[in-house]
């Protein structure tokens, strides 16, 4: 094994630990979007994509990363699309629901 693969092995070992501790469910960007959506949902029913994009937690996230993470959150059930007539509006779901 070369030095890079040793580092990769160490990362794999600790990633296994991270998964076992339940910390790997959401990526950092997904988590930030979820926190931002939870924050915005206190003010209004349904969270707009435009509102999320301007939230302080999301400011450093690139648009492609943001939309990929948003789609992933919908797929994982953390967010769901609001009524079909209200495109770009999401409802925040509890992680356990």
């Amino acid at each position: 094994m070369n030095d890079i693969s040793k580092l990769a092995e160490l990362r794999k070992l600790l990633l296994g630990m991270e998964r076992a501790l339940g910390l790997e469910d959401l990526s950092a960007v997904e988590r930030d979007i979820y926190y931002a959506a939870s924050d915005l949902s206190k003010q209004a029913q349904g969270v707009r994509t435009t509102g999320l994009l301007t939230h302080a937690l999301i400011q450093d996230v690139s648009r492609p990363t943001f939309f990929r993470a948003l789609k992933s959150l919908v797929n994982k059930g953390y967010l769901s699309q609001s009524a079909p007539s209200r495109r770009g509006v999401y409802v925040v779901n509890s992680p356990n629901s």
Partner: protein
């Protein structure tokens, strides 16, 4: 295995050991003395270098012995000066570098090979478990070599196990932070 690779392993493992040692004795021991003023032992209750020993043994196998030796020797010399060459301390140095790779080797022969190797998923509970066994054996042998009081046996065990766990947690969080920064 080239000479350059062995030198790189030695620099990384020994530097990590010395760093863990100074974090333990300069950073954590004063906090321990503040919270446990009645604990009259020189042993650390959060001994991070044990984590470096276990992870080196897991990753490098027997090669962790020469890789860690300069670091372990340096820490003994830092604490004991010329007395490092006393038999008890030379035994302490030997125990510090030998026990973890020996435990991984014996475990591989008897029931499960947890050592890092290509095409094999790392098993962190196995590494942790073998680290605990290494802590028990290393603690008993070191304290026998030093003729320590019974309290030190427990203190060494607690310190080594807590040190291994906290070092792995700290590395896990560091890698996680690194991943977060690079995926933004």
């Amino acid at each position: 295995m080239g000479l350059k690779s062995i030198a790189t392993e030695t620099v990384f493992a020994s530097t990590a050991y010395v760093l863990a040692f100074f974090i333990t004795f300069a950073g954590l021991m004063p906090i321990q003395n503040m919270f446990f003023p009645d604990f009259h032992s020189s042993a650390s209750l959060l001994f991070l270098p044990h984590g470096v020993r276990v992870l080196s043994a897991w990753l490098l196998g027997w090669r962790s012995i020469p890789a860690l030796l300069p670091g372990v020797f340096f820490t003994y010399y830092y604490l004991a000066g010329e007395k490092t060459f006393m038999l008890s301390r030379l035994m302490g140095i030997s125990i510090a570098v030998l026990v973890a790779p020996l435990v991984f080797h014996i475990a591989a022969k008897l029931f499960y090979d947890a050592r890092s190797r290509p095409g094999h998923d790392p098993c962190w509970p196995c590494v942790m478990g073998l680290g605990v066994i290494a802590a028990v054996i290393g603690g008993i042998l070191t304290n026998l070599a030093f003729g320590s009081p019974p309290l030190d046996y427990f203190a060494f065990f607690i310190g080594d196990v807590a040190g291994l766990f906290f070092l792995m947690m700290a590395l896990m969080l560091t890698f996680r932070l690194w991943r977060t920064k690079t995926t933004r």
